[in-house]
């Protein structure tokens, strides 16, 4: 018996795979959802979702109505970050606008502001920010502070010119160059990252059902009585989903490139290698959940909880791991998606090759080996 476990008979594998494919084709909607989910995700993230902040809806109360205040408001509106939504008569209207969410920022220019400026005194303006969305408010605060700092530089130069010091120039100039994502668009890091999520959905969530289904339908008994080893069963169950997953990767890569112009900087084949490896991890994880839980509903919920959500939340996909508490950072380091997303960002954004990425690939390989053996052990305990 022991020897039988180690040898894999390809005919048996093909038979199991054929049965699974038949299942998939008969259950046509699951199959087409397996392709529709990636399409939906890429379209959503590419077209609709962005973490970048521009055109902050701003309301203004101008108690001054002088050239200076009007000029300030005009320049605020002209900046790509702010959009003046309305001029309001008083501060009560501001509170109303913020409470209703009609605006997220308010600028209040008090009476006497221009006079202060002209008399070379500090002139305060009040800025109110809706802080409910901290990502948004943090960026907005940085932008408005920067905007005012810039306006002050201009005022300083004007002042010095009035004093007859027109030769003055800023002593230090920062030449800022942005690497990896030159136009600072969240799309450029989200779209590659979404591939990791897609693989988890298709790889782990779909396969988490396949063995549980056999248990629920009572067909596991039949399979157990067949001359099939645990390895053959697992391989046969995994192959169709491997092909679906790989197709999904290609669809995602192609859509990213054609629709959104997101092009890999490093090697395509390295990407395929990493994706296959990660897909194998996802599949073995799904199968393991399936044979442990033996119930489709529990398997699905478990899969959401330990594959989908962690890949989405703890993998550095859109939520920075570095800001998380230590225990979650630790958790993040056992999640396959963390390493795969690191590889993806290396390939898509940073133009890195094997020399930089081999540790991540090695960890994924290790994860796959551990999960594959765990699968065999669980099935054998179940009577294989």
């Amino acid at each position: 018996m022991q020897r039988e476990e180690l040898t894999v008979n390809l005919r048996n594998v093909r038979a199991i795979a054929g049965k699974e494919v038949y299942h998939l084709i008969r259950d046509f909607r699951s199959l087409y959802l397996a392709f529709a989910v990636p399409l939906l995700l890429i379209l959503l993230f590419g077209y609709a979702l962005s973490l970048d902040v521009e055109n902050i809806e701003t309301v203004v109360v101008d108690f001054e109505q002088t050239d200076l205040s009007r000029d300030f408001i005009r320049r605020l509106d002209a900046s790509p970050y702010f959009r003046i939504a309305a001029q309001l008569p008083n501060t009560e209207a501001v509170k109303d606008a913020l409470d209703h969410g009609r605006a997220t920022m308010a600028v209040i220019i008090p009476a006497g502001w221009s006079a202060d400026l002209r008399a070379d005194r500090e002139a305060a303006i009040q800025i109110l920010l809706d802080g409910s969305d901290p990502n948004f408010a943090g960026i907005a605060r940085a932008y408005i502070t920067g905007f005012i700092e810039g306006a002050n530089q201009k005022l300083l130069v004007e002042f010095l010119n009035r004093q007859g010091l027109e030769q003055i120039q800023p002593p230090v100039e920062g030449r800022i160059r942005i690497w990896f994502n030159e136009d600072l668009e969240s799309r450029n890091f989200i779209i590659p990252g979404i591939i990791a999520i897609i693989i988890m959905i298709v790889g782990a969530m779909l396969t988490s059902l396949v063995i549980a289904r056999e248990y629920e339908n009572g067909t596991m008994e039949t399979i157990r009585s067949l001359p099939i080893s645990a390895g053959e069963l697992l391989l046969g169950k995994a192959i169709p989903y491997f092909l679906i997953g790989l197709t999904d990767v290609l669809i995602a890569v192609l859509m990213g490139q054609v629709l959104f112009g997101i092009v890999m900087k490093a090697s395509f084949w390295l990407m395929i290698l990493a994706s296959s490896l990660y897909l194998m991890v996802a599949l073995t994880l799904g199968l393991l959940i399936s044979s442990v839980t033996k119930s489709q509903m529990v398997a699905n919920q478990t899969a959401v909880l330990i594959t989908y959500l962690p890949s989405l939340l703890l993998s550095n996909f859109v939520f920075p791991v570095i800001n998380m508490p230590k225990f979650l950072q630790l958790f993040s380091s056992v999640i396959p998606a963390t390493y795969y997303i690191n590889i993806l960002s290396g390939i898509y954004l940073k133009n890195l090759g094997l020399a930089y990425l081999w540790p991540d690939l090695a960890i994924l390989t290790g994860m796959f080996l551990i999960l594959a053996s765990a699968n065999c052990i669980v099935l054998k305990r179940g009577g294989f």
């Binding site: 901290p134 010091l165 800022i176 160059r177 779909l206 059902l209 939520f319």
Partner: protein, 373 residues
């Protein structure tokens, strides 16, 4: 309609649900785990910018500049590489967020009255965080320039300067948890109520017990009510647990009224249970139902303003979000938690939830009854 029959149906449903030991942890643990993880995960605060610095000038001026960066406690110099190549390696390996190189001629240029150029490399990978880091960097440089000019001209420059006093409302410390934890409460309610209802019905169909239910005196509407009430109870129970956890564990102040929150949850459940019913009418197997549920949850989640601001979406998609019940529920839940506002301000959201809920639920019930006949 007989309440007795409905009660028995509800009882049967609860027995089935709790008889399976494996269901128990999912009903209780899953929402709590989601809350705990989500509560800590989403944090875009920029409190710590890791900098690699090459100071090739090593003069008083360059040290002043370094101090200007580290004074605010936001920038932290973590590495002092020797060569630009080493600095680039640190950026590639994501060990630092920012690389600064102060060239050898830095001070001599300043002393001559020229502009000294320093080179700054920023990791733009996560663009939203990079934007803030870059804005901070420019701010430090602008301030440093102001100080230097003052010093170079040897006297206090009193000029008309704008003093921007930024105050943040509703969430003054820009605490991410205040924003996301109430959102998770909404998300958890949706996830459970949507999936559980559809599965509960499909399971009857898969097991062949649906036929048996149909031949009992149970009327279709009683069947629907009996199938949904358990999940209403579970969802509200979970909502309560999660809310208590949000208040005591994450210390999110509940500024508004509990009653308004409860009321909104019930209205929201109309839509999610309706969607669950609908999914059960279009699915044959559990696998199909789960995949279809997922297909609904994804856009509900993404297009709700939970993580991604609706204001950033293209106009067409913004219109689509008006069809999303989670969008309204989130506004309500955040309004009640953070702003402490009530029905007087949130009534449009309540109306929208009611209209959507009734439409979805009635539509699903109609479809469901047709399938039963």
């Amino acid at each position: 309609m007989s309440w007795l029959r409905i009660r028995e149906m509800v009882r049967k449903e609860f027995i089935q649900l709790f008889r399976d030991r494996k269901n128990r942890p999912i009903l209780v643990m899953a929402p709590l785990i989601q809350l705990l993880v989500f509560g800590y995960v989403v944090n875009y605060d920029i409190k710590d910018i890791r900098v690699a610095l090459i100071d090739q000038s090593r003069t008083q001026e360059s040290r002043l500049l370094t101090d200007a960066f580290t004074a605010g406690r936001i920038f932290r110099i973590t590495h002092l590489p020797e060569t630009p190549g080493e600095l680039e390696g640190l950026l590639l390996a994501a060990k630092v967020d920012l690389g600064i190189r102060i060239p050898p001629d830095f001070s001599s240029r300043i002393r001559r009255g020229d502009t000294a150029k320093i080179q700054i490399l920023a990791d733009g990978g996560m663009s939203n965080m990079a934007s803030v880091r870059i804005a901070y960097t420019t701010m430090v440089l602008d301030r440093f320039n102001g100080e230097l000019i003052k010093e170079l001209y040897g006297r206090e420059l009193k000029y008309g300067k704008i003093d921007g006093r930024v105050r943040t409302w509703y969430n003054p410390n820009l605490d991410s948890q205040h924003f996301f934890v109430p959102g998770i409460v909404a998300f958890v309610v949706m996830l459970i109520s949507l999936l559980m209802t559809s599965i509960a019905i499909i399971k009857e169909r898969e097991a062949g017990t649906m036929e048996q239910l149909i031949v009992t005196p149970l009327k279709p509407i009683e069947l629907i009510i009996g199938k949904t009430i358990p999940y209403v109870i579970i969802a509200i129970g979970q909502m309560a647990v999660v809310t208590v956890f949000a208040i005591f564990w994450f210390e999110i102040p509940l500024a508004g009224s509990v009653f308004a929150l409860f009321w909104a949850t019930c209205l929201f459940l109309l839509s999610t249970l309706g969607t669950g019913l609908f999914i059960s009418t279009v699915s044959k197997t559990q696998q199909q139902a789960m995949m279809t549920t997922f297909f609904f949850i994804l856009p509900f989640f993404m297009l709700s303003g939970f993580v991604f601001p609706i204001a950033n979406m293209p106009t067409f998609v913004q219109w689509l979000t008006y069809l999303n019940p989670l969008r309204y529920f989130l506004v309500i839940i955040r309004g009640i938690f953070l702003k402490g506002v009530g029905l007087d301000i949130l009534w449009p959201q309540y109306v929208a939830l009611t209209v959507l809920g009734i439409a979805v639920f009635a539509g699903a019930v109609g479809r469901f009854r047709k399938r039963l006949d």
